[in-house]
Symmetry: D2
Subunit: 427 residues, 4 copies
């Protein structure tokens, strides 16, 4: 049974979803010139143009390419726009992506259009089998991940330019007030963590979220909201970046070698920060972001608390609607809570605003099975040396995350919209 596009109605819905996601990527790139779209400011980041091409390559390779008689649009591009799928073949070196003046942005846009046309055509004549439909759906989630990376990467690129231009001048802005911090208690319990394995189960989830399994979560308290800019500034002013005792050993080495003194995009006055809308006054009530794991962890230790485990986080998130300040809100920056009548027993801003660093190293769930075939490389091979973040951010497309969603980055990474929420044990 095709769980994805089994009916004409389902196929139409899938096509609609496809068009919307694909259009969204182009919309995100629209404020950028061909030159902007080519910048790679560090090996961890990729040019906008590369994101646009790679996500198209994903559909060409895993959906269109499996159709009988398909001729590649351009054989050389397989090498250029493969990211890290070793089982498919060699790939262009990641740190060299910024050298690709050819193909041009215009050619890449044309490539996108041709891929889109073929996919739509295949959907319209119901030519995709179940596996192809699954890979199509996976490709849409994949593209949404790259939409967020496109934003974080271009933010870094524009900040690296001495002129430090804004990505957009017309972003929405809003003010609010951080609620007082409160601890929400949780009893020891056994929690069903994770999502059933897709595509055997119809609801989409990445392989690393499966299988569902039971975890004993100890008694603890968790904060009702993320740590705010004002709270983090107090840590800085208290010498947080000058006292080794707060830091993991590796984090302290980075503080010294890299000269870290505040979150990535703050200036030395601690009053202003670089945003996708340019330089702005820091809102003391908004969640702090652009922290590495080491900074989040050090803050928590200074505050007499700790980061929650990913299981503690998921346990509380399971019962909440996936709502918040996502990229579709067009703020593209975390903001203070603006709700009227928050339920005091419920945590705020679990979803959206900032990814929340957890204390959990990224690893396999018991019984983990990577996706079948080449796509087995999607998540599994990075399960070493990365740290789990949860909940999505102001740069995450709405509808992309869920309670079981596991994001992961190196603990030194600072260019994502990453903040933290405090927790404490109850021993």
């Amino acid at each position: 049974m095709n769980t994805v596009a089994a009916t004409p109605q389902a196929a139409r819905a899938l096509a609609e979803h496809f068009r919307a996601v694909r259009a969204r990527s182009l919309a995100l790139a629209a404020p950028l010139s061909a030159e902007d779209a080519m910048v790679q400011s560090m090996p961890d980041a990729s040019p906008t143009k590369w994101h646009l091409a790679h996500t198209s390559w994903f559909f060409e390779r895993f959906v269109v390419g499996s159709q009988p008689g398909h001729a590649p649009f351009n054989a050389d591009w397989h090498y250029l726009f493969n990211s890290y799928y070793q089982s498919i073949g060699p790939a262009h070196a990641r740190p060299q992506r910024g050298l690709l003046s050819r193909p041009s942005l215009e050619e890449v846009r044309d490539y996108r259009q041709r891929v889109d046309d073929q996919v739509i055509e295949l959907l319209q004549r119901d030519a995709l089998d179940s596996q192809a439909c699954h890979q199509l759906l996976l490709g849409l989630h994949h593209e949404q991940q790259h939409q967020e990376l496109l934003l974080t990467d271009i933010k870094h690129a524009l900040w690296c330019n001495p002129l430090q231009p804004a990505y957009r001048d017309d972003l929405k802005r809003s003010t609010g007030a951080a609620l007082p911090m409160r601890w929400l208690p949780a009893e020891e319990c056994i929690v069903e963590i994770g999502a059933p394995a897709w595509p055997a189960h119809p609801a989409f989830a990445y392989d690393n979220e499966s299988p569902v399994h039971r975890v004993l979560v100890p008694a603890h308290v968790v904060a009702n909201r993320p740590v705010s800019n004002a709270e983090y500034r107090a840590f800085i002013l208290d010498g947080g970046y000058r006292q080794a005792a707060h830091w993991m050993s590796e984090g302290w080495t980075l503080v010294q070698n890299e000269g870290w003194q505040h979150p990535l995009y703050w200036d030395d006055s601690l009053e202003r920060e670089f945003t996708l809308g340019g330089w702005r006054a820091i809102d003391p009530d908004a969640p702090v972001c652009h922290l590495s794991y080491f900074e989040a962890d050090a803050y928590a230790r200074w505050a007499g608390a700790r980061l929650p485990t990913e299981f503690e986080w998921e346990a509380v998130a399971q019962s909440l609607p996936v709502q918040g300040n996502f990229a579709d809100d067009d703020h593209l920056h975390p903001r203070a809570f603006t709700g009227e009548s928050a339920n005091p027993a419920q945590p705020l801003q679990l979803f959206g605003d900032v990814w929340e660093w957890t204390s959990s190293a990224y690893g396999a769930y018991p019984g983990f099975q990577p996706f079948a075939g080449n796509l087995g490389e999607y998540n599994g091979k990075f399960m070493c040396g990365q740290w789990i973040l949860r909940g999505g951010s102001c740069a995450t497309p709405a509808g992309h995350v869920r309670a079981s969603y596991r994001n992961f980055f190196a603990p030194s990474a600072r260019w994502q919209f990453a903040g933290l929420r405090l927790a404490r044990g109850l021993a």
Copy 2:
């Protein structure tokens, strides 16, 4: 209440223990010249002389130094022989330890003697308060850790010398036969993991083993013995080091950049290995060792299995006596099982022979509290980027490890006596 040396009898026992541990370090250094004792073959390793001095500094700083009127034996040496205690003061750069021709090995031996004399004298006149006694006991466990490092570091140093001399020519050797590999089943259960916090509780444990907490361990099977050299050789001959699909992404990068083709001390024939007794034929039945986490993990994936979690490991180890091939056996190399009538329901060689890589990243237990004061830096600040190993090795002093003992190294580290045991989920 002084839980360590509360009675004259206890004080005498502590003094005896102290003498024995201290003498053992000198015995390990005895086969080495002053020149051998100075080699630092890589930044991760330290010279024998530095181990001898640093362990003495630990007692001077944390036991003798807290006594009224104590004058440091040599003020400059605090800087030389502090390892990483930032709260105490700056330390000589780790990669420069091999440049310390002064103080001489003879001076360091003399330093050890003076520290020993003072400690014994303090014990004899019952001058150590409870805290000092605890730090004394911690210092002995600390010294045992360095005894193992002394062996692994000198093994690497002698191997780096083109002459590749043996550390000792008179090591014991024995042969055995690996039992057939069998899976031992375990039902899902909640396990009490860890050790009560010392010194509040009288039995010694490191801070990272505490507190005791409940963990849900899923249903699984675990192998009755470690993976053997013969089994690992089959992995190599099957192209294990040439297929990216077996490897974590970071491990595959190391395989290619470092040219890994077999365990660290094997030669290219896969027939011979360098040991503390010099070059020897590889015993196919003995546990494989000198693997990185990446190699252990790749082998397990190739074998259709996985590494056990540290909780799975501890759950099975809790009921077993801490017996095995430890350093005191004077083999200083893993050996095949030689027992007569092994209980088929029990796993073999959990303790001794080789440290077993687990699938668990090193992290804090819920409610973890570092040791008080400066010694809080002992374990806690390394809880990022390291991987857990369990069970001790042929280079670990007998009596040093226990079921709850958590060793940790970077996943790329190969110079420890580290191997693996397979596990599998039962979903």
Copy 3:
């Protein structure tokens, strides 16, 4: 006395020269997209856009900027487009030039136009004093140097792109036949080397060509033409890149670490090479190029000869017209000699085709005085660790070089159009 534009006629001529040089830079950039113009493929190279901007900045800073009432076109750009003039102020880090998506190529073109308008206007109303005129003239020579770098840098950039596109498809091509190699003798003599110091003397020369001084040149022979591709291929086929004995110690290290096996842009078949016109068959009769000093020196040793000193080179070049295959010929690649009736007593192709590595390290002539003021940094501070090349190349603008012209690059540099001519002592 204004030696440059003392009369209206001279001013008109200078304006004409200015227009021509400035237009030539734009013409060189014309085949490139804004994306192409942004690539920086290695720290030694700069993006086309940066060359266009920096050369304009030079005129703004040193000519227009000294006029009363001049407001900078854009104050931030001083930082972006200063290259290495420390006495003027800090500069954007060289390896980051490829990140400058802003200002756009269009803005840089507009900047050029505004600088040009002002310079022309100043010339037309005779507002430039003698010093400003000199700096204007220096700026034109400076821009010509960057025209050559623009070509060598974009060649490298396009070659680094896996698609390896041609810079132009319409370059001129011609064939010829290398004349038999012959030795031209020179007696010991004292030679007047160098050029009188400009601007005290009216003929332009860089400061590093002055003062004129007497050098004793020993008896020697020099080859009638540069080494050809066929000759260099024989060196390769004879194992030239596999025998340490031919190489300087530092060069041999590079051969091994970088895996050098042939000139930079050759393929492994030794039959094809990448040119500004794309991949082509190697012409065996054309001068070999894209060699480092180490390769040129190794070839000479293998051939039982040596490189000429820069004085030997200049001594023979002084009597010859500055004619050859320069950039204006629109070949942009070295070519075999095509002349009909070469005078057998005269060396061929001293000028144009390929820069010729000499055996002379770059240093100051006796009595060397750097240009006055900030421009003293132009040449003098690089007189360490560089090697002298003479004669210009197929990428050098006609009219830019002369017999006394001293080019210099690191001995490891390969991306310039650099070859060699053999010499031998007569002892």
Copy 4:
């Protein structure tokens, strides 16, 4: 004709010379423990033990080893103690020399003795042919070079140890007064530079000193003595290390990246310096030393002068006796001039005290021929990227240098006893 040991008398003299040089090396190592003799504090330096072994290997390989029936003392040691003779075979990696705890210092001393016995025995029975005698003589000069390196390397090693012990406490010390600086004029002239090629010519010289050739030396003045500590301190106090304008571009980068603020072994007070006799007050009248070329060159520019060329230096040195403060004087540190009645027309301290950086890059003389055979690698392959120093130092064995002697080091090297003498052109 055997120009070295053609008569029994000559053979006896050669044996005596051999014994003396070999004994001197042991005497230099005598103040050092086996541990001290093993330290390698940077890749450019070698352990004392390695110097003792390598110089013996040189005699074994080039003198004893060519005798019929010679069996190597220890075949493995060829690999360990070859320095850089690629034509002979692979060598142990230079930066790893400090790891060689085996062979022990005692074994190396024994090796020296066995080599010495064989050489003396061969000399006594007149068994060495002319070539062997030449290589023996070359080996003695080679050993003298290593005697100086032994001193500069151990000075660096002891300084790197935080305890900073003295090499010897019993060095001679003397005071003097720097004469006023005066310029000594020299007319333009053609000078015969260099030494006739040995061994064709009987007087020993390295291959890089030959052949004798004519050089036109321009009119200039040269200082009567080296620059003093007091003069160099004035440069520092005038901000010499803070103004880019004084420096070569590469030197300025080093000043900033390495934090250079004064000569290598000075402390920040500019009052004390580390010497082979330990920390001492800086003698303002003594020649400044432990400068890189970049520092010597920057000082000269600041002083309105320049460094002499190696030809200017040799021209004035040719007429002077080779006398001065050499290692045999047992000061092992530069000292102020103490002579009574210096001839005011003659330069002082050309020989001994400090090597004098010249403005000449190290290159081949016209007609240069490397030594025959494997020893051709002795000097020739380093003729790129090095700078010439002249005159010997307080660490050079008396009798080792001469007017034509060319020493060379990288321009960044600071651990040699290197200073400078000023010169100026007379245009």
